[in-house]
Symmetry: C2
Subunit: 474 residues, 2 copies
């Protein structure tokens, strides 16, 4: 183990806790845990532990504290900011939660599910479905991301508009602290005012304060009707007005309102097989709208028709098509889900995951386009996102024919130009992906010192030995 | 100032910050700030400060830290657990937020309002209404409680079912820290994953970590239709099943589902003028159900009819009446709002503010009745609450003709008997009123040591001088 910055005797002490079969030490075994999809965050580790119980995790953390050994918790390894990656020192141990994968209980009357951290999101969605319930968290990576990671990164996705982030879906947590102590707060309660809100400290902390090992999550009635529409529009202003109208009418029955500029649609259709332009075509902006009803299919149909009729009459929507079949609904959603991948063949890209107040979306889009052009003339804005949450994935593809590496050399300059506008509008430079390794410097540089100081005090109070996922967030 | 445990020179230094006109020192001026409605938490103070700006609060806190002077923040003084009361030492200064009473901005497109801590809840509800929006927090004390107190106590009320607690309604906060530093996190963002969740530490902390001076809160579209129904039922089990059915159909359109036993109804009708028995009478249990629609009055009517028709057909509801007029809706709600006061003329009472998983409500009611009878034979259970939140105000009136003082001597024994069942069902002994002075001992005695230790570490990290509202919560 020449790569190891930890002596073998100590590695053995960790390994014995989980059993040799679940202590991975060979390069081949370790590789999947130190490589992520985009290859942005190279890391090394001499050991990946795959504990099978909360008790084993507790003993690992006790030993880690005792020996000042840094631990990097890892779920489905789908994070986009490197929060799940060890650094390059070879001195950090990766702790995979994937074997804690039981759904402990589904309570259909209380509408809750008690689930372990390693359960894959899609598995949970399917289990809820089988119990005639909806678990609304929905992300592109749901086939492999895990609930523990979803909570640690306070995951967002397309269901946030009606149901909230991972944070809002969580009623209780079980957490192993850096000392190995276990905080058991697995309560199913919608109201509980007994002391400080510890739960929300661990949610979104990206594994830097403790390890979430299980959670009680909310379930919802499964909608009886669902309608998906594709809308062509003249401008983001029109989309904003249509969003207001749809919210008024549908309330939490408005289950998606995704804004899509024409360029990402064009890229997806050209590069992703099976993606075709929707019928309501020829407009510079598009909205994928989904409406759900707890009452009936007819009710959902009536609702979406009412919204679109009003939107067309008032000139907000240029054109609109309600999916005529489940296949067409799926086709509309497939476009949305192909937007990220569709951008890849267009060369190098600089990404942003921003949010602004909903009302400021049009202004942001207008100002950011000018800033992008100033940084890199001819760069192509690829703008789409969760309009109802004020959250855009505002990505920039290199100019056609430009040198990709040179364009990527502008990464920080471009980020700064875009994030300055975001900040000026009271927005966030990390709406849903988190901080991890990628955005830590920017967090430290741009967050008011008072907030940074409070975060540091919280970190020091909960992880005084500094062994929980070092170098991430703060 | 013989009552004062603080020397006059120091009091003068505090007073000069706000100006003598806003530094109350006479017993008569101070009295309203050291007396609360139930007279349960007697306290003394030599000084009530009424600052007019965040800057003044900041200077007060700086001086308080410098001189180790305890500060008790106070809003509308409506709290039920003594969180807003100074102790009896005369060494604590009360800081009233009531002059910070501006609504800074209503953003109808982003559906947010930015509001200062001293704004009275009803004032905010009216302002939202005037902007054609709904601010859904609704409590008995809304005519005098203030937003800062609502957030500090994470207030609940009747709107929680569809819209969540105060916590869920808050997007951003401005907080003056014990050192006088100001955390400005007044963001309007629905998604923001940039570091630890500081906001939720201050919400529900009852002023023990810092002083919330302003907040960004969510607004909602004002419903276009609203229907209120009174339902008579055989049992809590039937109410639970009806609740499930109503949730399935209405989703977040189910805006209230209040369970009421016959005894509190009887008390209210007998003792509160203008309260009359509803038409669907003669059942041992009642439900006040409210349904709202963003679409139309007709739509709300259809929805409530669908739910009740199904409920009656399946034998869940025994009888049901939909309010035929706004006056009748108000009359139904007046019953609900009279239940607390209606209990008072029946003599001494022992109160509980508990929550359990929604599915456990019937079991709790059955087991608690037996426990109550064992502690005090003939004591009368007065059970009502927010069934959809699993939250009951489970109060016990003394046996008819018994000695009130002797009955109150059973307060702790009764609490223990009831709370033991709550704990056994995974519930909370403080669902919405908080801890304050009243429940601190019980919190410390019954919460797992790991959680208490974490809360203490958070307290020490954020308020190392221990001057923020001492003796409350933790």
């Amino acid at each position: 183990m020449e790569a190891s910055g930890i002596d073998t005797a100590l590695l053995d002490r960790f390994a014995v806790i989980v059993g040799e079969g679940y202590a991975l030490r060979s390069d081949a075994d370790i590789a999947p845990y130190v490589t992520e999809r985009r290859g942005l965050y190279p890391g090394r580790t001499p050991l990946v532990l795959r504990p099978g119980s909360v008790d084993e995790i507790s003993r690992i953390m006790w030993l880690a504290t005792e020996t000042r050994t840094p631990i990097v918790p890892q779920g489905g390894n789908t994070g986009l900011v490197g929060g799940q990656m060890p650094d390059g020192s070879g001195r950090e141990i990766v702790l995979s939660l994937s074997r804690l994968n039981r759904i402990r209980e589904i309570d259909v009357q209380s509408n809750t599910v008690t689930v372990e951290a390693g359960v894959v999101l899609q598995t949970l969605r399917d289990a809820a479905d089988a119990a005639d319930r909806l678990f609304p968290l929905s992300l592109g990576s749901q086939g492999s991301c895990q609930i523990g990671g979803n909570l640690s990164s306070n995951a967002g996705g397309t269901g946030v508009l009606a149901y909230g982030n991972a944070r809002e879906l969580c009623l209780g947590v079980e957490v192993v602290l850096p000392t190995g102590e276990v905080l058991d707060d697995l309560r199913k309660l919608k109201k509980d005012n007994t002391g400080y809100d510890l739960k929300n400290l661990f949610i979104g902390a990206e594994g830097t304060l403790g390890i979430i090992t299980a959670a009680v999550l909310k379930l919802y009635p499964r909608p009886k009707g669902r309608e998906v529409a594709w809308v062509g529009l003249e401008s983001p202003e029109a989309a904003l007005a249509l969003f207001g109208k749809a919210t008024d009418q549908a309330g939490s029955g408005l289950t998606a309102f995704e804004l899509i500029a024409d360029r990402p649609l064009d890229f997806a259709v050209r590069h992703i097989p099976g993606t075709v332009r929707p019928p309501a075509d020829g407009w510079p902006w598009h909205v994928l709208m989904e409406v759900s009803s707890g009452r009936s299919a007819e009710d959902a149909r009536q609702l979406v028709e009412d919204i679109l009729t009003a939107g067309l009459e008032e000139g907000l929507a240029g054109d609109a098509v309600i999916a005529a079949s489940l296949a067409q609904s799926d086709a509309f959603w497939r476009i949305r889900e192909s937007l990220s991948d569709g951008q890849r063949p267009e060369g190098a890209s600089i990404k942003h995951d921003i949010s602004v107040p909903v009302a400021s979306i049009p202004e942001f889009i207008e100002r950011a386009a000018i800033a992008v052009e100033a940084v890199s003339p001819g760069a192509r804005v690829v703008c789409f996102g969760h309009m109802g949450d004020g959250n855009l994935h505002y990505n920039i593809s290199q100019p056609v024919g430009a040198d990709g590496a040179a364009f990527l050399g502008l990464y920080r300059t471009m980020n700064k130009a875009v994030h300055d506008i975001v900040r000026n509008l009271g927005g966030s430079f990390s709406a849903e992906h988190g901080i991890g390794r990628l955005k830590r410097d920017e967090l430290l540089a741009t967050t008011p010192p008072v907030a940074i100081d409070l975060m540091r005090r919280v970190k020091a109070a909960l992880d005084p030995a500094g062994i929980m996922n070092p170098g991430k967030v703060i």
